[in-house]
């Protein structure tokens, strides 16, 4: 870093370094882009992370498996439920137990609600990045409905910690199904508003089309997964590749577009919200009866290595546990989607304007605590 700052050629080339972050409105958290600019043009940028590193993986080594769940909420706080699910699934696989269908269905419903809520917040923030301030309130208005559903069942709105190895913390609230059905009809009406406000806007299209082109090869090289990768035609939906929970039982489409620009990443997320509504509709009436918790006396993974991957709202989350047979893991590693998604930004933004850098980083939908863990 010091080398680039002291580069004496810089002044001759009329280049200068600007630090976007760690406190900057466009980075959505404590992320720093060391950006080299020539006028308004981005020459290159180096992302610096670690400002919110809490050592979650190391802390996990000293906690029992059910306790680990609560830490994973704090990685990608917008996909809190899906993070919980990944750890719970991994431990269940290790213990070779299978949860009841009821648990699987409820987990999947929660996961899809989480996905919608996360995409809604992304839509808010993406509009803000591009300077359309009204999007923020439209997105939050609808997200509130989902958070209310969460609150009713889990008692918590953001970091639910609803999963536990072997099942769920509690059964669903009696209103649960009714409210989800209400939400589906409500949100089907409101989603076209999103298109009216932002997607159809000529300024928005000019700002996003052809900006930050990511080829399929690039996405695979950098391990860009989730909607960002699927916007480049990379088939990376874990729900399709390695179905878990209730995904084998339902029909849904993997949304992929081939353009690979900011606009296609945007469209993928909007389409995923529609698709998640379809998934919810298939699941909500068919929740089977059964217990929501397995009778597990001791939660211990046997000696060995275990890996489980799930599809969060931002991409592939992998949980890798090395166990020595004790009540807590010997080593644990989270393969978080944002960490991989982040580092492609240099390739995408180089050569574009500084305003495009903000649009591109918004389209990658970064959640900073997930990068640093």
């Amino acid at each position: 870093m010091e080398e680039t700052l002291l580069d004496i050629d810089m002044q001759e080339k009329e280049e200068y370094i600007i630090n976007m972050g760690p406190q900057h409105p466009s980075t959505h958290g404590v992320l720093r882009f060391e950006t080299c600019l020539q006028g308004e043009k981005v020459k290159y940028l180096i992302p610096h992370c670690g400002y919110i590193h809490r050592g979650i993986e190391k802390m996990c080594e000293h906690l029992t498996y059910p306790q680990i769940i609560h830490l994973t909420d704090r990685m990608d706080y917008l996909s809190a439920h899906i993070n919980n699910e990944a750890v719970a699934l991994c431990i269940e696989n290790a213990m070779q137990v299978e949860v009841s269908d009821r648990v699987k269905y409820i987990r999947t419903i929660f996961a899809e609600l989480t996905r919608i809520a996360s995409h809604q917040l992304w839509w808010c923030a993406f509009g803000m990045d591009l300077g359309a301030l009204t999007t923020f309130f439209y997105g939050l208005r609808d997200r509130e409905k989902i958070l209310d559903i969460f609150e009713e069942t889990t008692g918590s709105r953001l970091t639910q910690s609803f999963n536990t190895p072997g099942g769920l913390m509690s059964d669903i609230h009696p209103n649960f199904q009714k409210r989800i059905k209400e939400f589906i009809t409500y949100f089907r009406k409101k989603l076209p508003e999103y298109d009216q406000l932002l997607t159809g806007n000529i300024i928005f299209r000019e700002r996003t089309k052809g900006i930050g082109m990511m080829t399929k090869e690039m996405a695979i090289d950098y391990g860009v997964t989730g909607p960002s990768g699927r916007g480049s035609g990379f088939h990376c939906d874990i729900r399709k590749i390695a179905p878990y929970s209730a995904y084998p039982f339902i029909k849904f489409n993997e949304i992929t577009l081939t353009e690979g620009d900011t606009y296609s990443r945007y469209l993928v997320r909007i389409a995923e919200m529609w698709e998640s509504l379809n998934i919810l509709e298939q699941l909500v009436d068919n929740i089977p009866q059964g217990s929501t918790m397995l009778e597990l006396k001791v939660i211990k993974a046997p000696k060995g290595e275990f890996y489980q991957r799930v599809e969060t709202a931002r991409g592939e989350l992998g949980v890798y546990i090395v166990s020595d047979g004790g009540p807590s893991p010997a080593r644990i590693k989270f393969r978080t989607p944002n960490f991989s998604n982040l580092f492609v930004i240099n390739k995408l933004a180089a050569g574009h304007k500084i305003a495009d850098l903000v649009a591109i980083s918004g389209s990658l939908d970064l959640v900073i605590p997930d990068i640093d863990r």
Binding site: E40, A132, T134, I203
Partner: protein
């Protein structure tokens, strides 16, 4: 019916009779200055309030509603807060320029207010080149913005200021040319005469399609000139934190803030005067009864009503559109607005020559 000329004239006479010419002039200058400043401050505060309420309405929010009924004293409370706030002095900043920049911005907009006709006779100074004066004075504000960006010694500020400079200088052309269209129609640069020429119909209506095109172009470029709405690149908060006024605090920040709103008012007031007949009431053909009722509404209400409508449209722009990029912004001006404007001007010159307007 509501003519302020006689009132103002009698006050002037009274002053001239009681005092020597020097003192009469001084008293008039001071009282006028104080009146304009008060008007400026109050209007600025309530434009901020209006903006917050309107944007809240567009965003499913309540907006300010705690200080006073419907929160009408919120901006006054904010102003008091800004007045009492500590001014932060920056090391390595060019202190003289840093301190003078907000004053340049605000003085430019106060001076422009002086020649705006609020009603017949209710105008501080009716210059015979009023339009030119306003264009010249209001474009002085960009010097303040450039100075603010440069003197702050911050990269964000410099980028913001450079953007603002490029933007205002480009869009000045469009504003000027759009106003030239109406000047061509009216045959005068004096505001009172331009309004008088609209006695039998506003230029927006009787100027055919070219006047409408000029109006739309004026609205777009006027919004751009105030650094607002989809053209707020100079203070693009998602890119440049706050652009040229990143380093300012307290009352100096308030000056920039106030000047932005007053510039919006000036742009809207000029649009009202040039295109919408200024303080003239709305008349419909030969409907004498209707026209008589319209005449009954005081001209000040007409002026502020029309201005408020245009301000509302400008706020509407701001709260629904995403921001443009700098190259798109300049392309819009140089590749689209300017050629259209030039063609439009030629067309209007032809129409005026042939006396084809109503």
């Amino acid at each position: 019916m509501y003519d302020f000329t006689a009132l103002i004239g009698s006050i002037t006479n009274l002053l001239n009779e009681t005092f020597s010419p020097f003192w009469a002039g001084l008293i008039m200058m001071v009282s006028l200055g104080v009146a304009l400043l008060l008007f400026y401050a109050v209007l600025g505060l309530y434009l901020v309030y209006a903006e917050r309420k309107i944007c809240a309405r567009m965003q499913n929010r309540m907006g300010p509603n705690r200080v006073g009924p419907l929160g009408i004293f919120q901006t006054i409370a904010d102003l008091i807060k800004l007045l009492l706030k500590e001014l932060i002095y920056i090391k390595n900043a060019d202190n003289f320029l840093f301190n003078i920049a907000p004053f340049i911005v605000i003085v430019a907009s106060i001076m422009a207010i002086g020649s705006i006709p609020f009603a017949k006779g209710l105008q501080a100074i009716d210059l015979n080149i009023g339009v030119l004066y306003i264009l010249a004075i209001s474009s002085m504000g960009v010097i303040g913005i450039l100075l603010a960006g440069w003197a702050s010694n911050s990269k964000y500020s410099v980028i913001g200021a450079m953007r603002s400079g490029a933007q205002v200088i480009s869009y000045e052309l469009s504003v000027g040319l759009a106003l030239l269209c109406i000047i061509t129609y009216a045959g005068s640069m004096q505001f009172s005469e331009i309004i008088a020429s609209q006695q039998d119909g506003w230029w927006l209506f009787k100027g055919h399609i070219p006047a409408f095109i000029a109006f739309v172009i004026y609205l777009i470029s006027g919004t751009a000139e105030t650094n607002r709405g989809p053209f707020d690149l100079a203070e693009a908060e998602s890119e440049l934190t706050a652009g040229f006024h990143t380093e300012y605090s307290g009352i100096k920040f308030a000056f920039f803030f106030l000047a932005e709103y007053m510039n919006m008012f000036i742009i809207a007031a000029i649009a009202t005067t040039m295109f919408l007949g200024g303080w003239l009431p709305f008349h419909l053909f030969q409907w004498h009864g209707f026209n008589r009722v319209m005449d009954f509404i005081p001209p000040v209400f007409w002026f502020f009503g029309k201005t408020a409508f245009i301000i509302y449209v400008m706020m509407w722009f701001k709260w629904t559109f995403p921001r443009l990029r700098i190259d798109q912004l300049l392309a819009l001006e140089w590749k689209y607005l300017l050629p259209i404007n030039l063609m439009n001007l030629i067309l209007i010159a032809f129409l005026t020559l042939m006396q084809w307007h109503f």
